[in-house]
């Protein structure tokens, strides 16, 4: 957590927040949160209802200002009352959980254009940006721009909400439970698009999720928030490997990891840091055929990550070469074993 390299686009240090501070109804929500988000990374924040995660993400774009501690976005300190908050909100795009609460125009096109038009951006550029944003989330510009926002499915609404934020051209995208309530197909589609945004467009993504399959699929770094402080920080691999020793995190593992943990606790020497379906199947197969000797380390991941179309495709870490990954060493799976 101490690393503060040049590539950090957002840092939170020793952040405290208390609702209704100074009144008898004061409710403390955050106690000294520290968090570093490197540019271009994809960070998951996991936490129970009431863990303070929504309070935390509202600090990222200045909806809440630090009462104590500091939030720095691209070098701008949010505790400074003089900071240009509209610029911050343009850099940090925040998508809330419920799309109903963030779509307020009658027509899809108008809703997506709301932000840039408020900023006074010329219409021709707004149109260009909207085309781009809608394309990225998978909405057809010509077909959708004049559609009513009432007559949309849950998945479409979420895409409109996402496009309405992307059109601001943020550098950091913050998503609160981006897939809650979606059916599997829309969910997969949306997750793939978010991943593409992160991997191809280089957008920094921070998302809140309870779904460990999703975390495994998207995130390269995970923060677990519990009772207002960071209780765990590491890669998904490290998290899933540590669950046995850290029941306090109250994080449910993906079912594949559950299988490996159950096998591990029954004495099989399986590698509990593996979590994609092909990896888990490989471990299970090894265990079932009695190959999992006590000293055997896991084999390197097989190149064959082509799961059936339903599966989450492959592990979520392939970006070490550029060196931005904060925990590249953890990918060395031999050392993660048995932590």
């Amino acid at each position: 957590m101490g690393e503060s390299n040049r590539g950090d686009i957002l840092t939170v240090s020793n952040l405290h927040h208390t609702y209704l501070q100074g009144t008898p109804l004061a409710q403390p929500a955050l106690f000294g949160v520290n968090l570093v988000i490197p540019a271009g990374s994809c960070v998951a924040i996991i936490g129970h209802t009431g863990s303070g995660k929504s309070t935390l993400i509202q600090h990222f774009n200045g909806l809440l200002r630090p009462q104590m501690g500091e939030v720095v976005v691209n070098g701008a300190r949010l505790s400074n009352p003089q900071v240009d908050i509209r610029a911050i909100r343009q850099q940090v795009g925040l998508v809330f959980q419920n799309p109903e609460d963030q779509i307020f125009e009658r027509l899809v096109g108008d809703d997506i254009a709301y932000g840039p038009l408020k900023q006074g951006i010329p219409l021709s550029e707004v149109v260009q940006r909207a085309k781009w944003a809608m394309g990225v989330v998978g909405l057809d510009f010509d077909e959708m721009k004049n559609r009513s926002t009432f007559a949309m499915s849950g998945g479409e609404k979420r895409k409109v909400a996402l496009a309405g934020v992307l059109v601001l051209r943020p550098q950091i995208l913050v998503l609160d439970e981006p897939t809650a309530g979606l059916d599997p197909r829309s969910r997969r589609d949306l997750l793939r698009r978010i991943r593409d945004l992160n991997r191809s467009e280089g957008l920094t993504v921070v998302f809140v999720s309870h779904n460990m399959e999703e975390v495994a699929y998207l995130a390269d770094t995970v923060y677990v928030l519990a009772a207002g402080h960071i209780a765990f920080h590491g890669t998904p691999r490290e998290l899933f490997g540590a669950l046995d020793e850290r029941p306090d995190l109250q994080v449910g593992a993906p079912p594949g990891v559950e299988i490996l943990r159950a096998l591990h606790s029954r004495g099989y020497h399986v590698d509990t840091t593996r979590f994609t379906v092909p990896e888990v199947a490989e471990e299970v197969a090894a265990a079932a055929s009695g190959q999992r000797g006590p000293a055997a380390a896991a084999e390197p991941p097989s190149g064959d990550l082509s799961a059936p179309p339903t599966a989450w495709e492959g592990p979520a870490h392939r970006r070490e070469p550029d060196g931005r990954h904060p925990h590249a060493h953890a990918e060395d799976r031999g050392d993660a074993h048995g932590r």
Partner: protein, 185 residues
């Protein structure tokens, strides 16, 4: 099923949620549009009453009006609203007037009927409340008239716009083929 009179489940819930909005608007500053007059700010808290009576009939409008009246009575900062005859009684008529206007005009043009009902409902609120304030001796006629124009006019305009937007979308008589601002080609 369509022919049911009295309070159907639907009418009860619509009256309930619209009353909730009327109360909420009163408790947040969003119910007010600041206009400096003796009656304080212009208000949009009566719009749920109008919407309720257009959508579900005058009894629903009257009930919402009553609840709106009570909440404005309890929460009033302006002295004469602490008189139930000013804050509650006139509000009972907003629903009836807007419903009558709506029913009267809708055979020609539903869209226009909603708009005019929005205007007349708002005007009813302004005229009856201020009229009652004059009758009860809180306001002289002159200031009341000034207030009626300064507050009543913006209230009525906002009321027309919101009522139209909400009711027409709900009745699905939205003008078809609306074009987004982005539709520039």
């Amino acid at each position: 099923m369509e022919k049911q009179i009295g309070f159907t489940v639907r009418r009860i819930v619509v009256a309930g949620v619209l009353s909730a909005i009327a109360i909420l608007l009163g408790f947040t500053r969003w119910g007010y549009i600041p206009v400096p007059t003796p009656a304080g700010n212009a208000t949009i808290m009566h719009i749920p009453v109008i919407i309720g009576s257009i959508m579900e009939g005058w009894p629903v409008g009257t009930v919402i009006g009553f609840i709106f009246g009570l909440s404005s009575f309890v929460g009033a900062d302006v002295p004469f609203f602490k008189d139930p005859l000013v804050s509650v009684l006139p509000r009972l008529f907003i629903g009836i007037v807007s419903w009558l206007v709506f029913v009267g005009i809708r055979r020609w043009n539903v869209y226009a009927a909603i708009g005019v009902a929005g205007f007349m409902g708002s005007a009813t609120n302004t005229i009856l409340v201020l009229g009652m304030a004059v009758l009860r001796g809180y306001l002289a006629f002159g200031p009341a008239l000034v207030t009626a124009v300064a507050n009543g006019l913006p209230e009525a305009i906002v009321s027309v716009l919101i009522t139209l937007a909400v009711v027409s979308a709900w009745m699905r008589i939205d003008r078809k083929g609306r074009r987004s601002k982005l539709d520039v080609d």
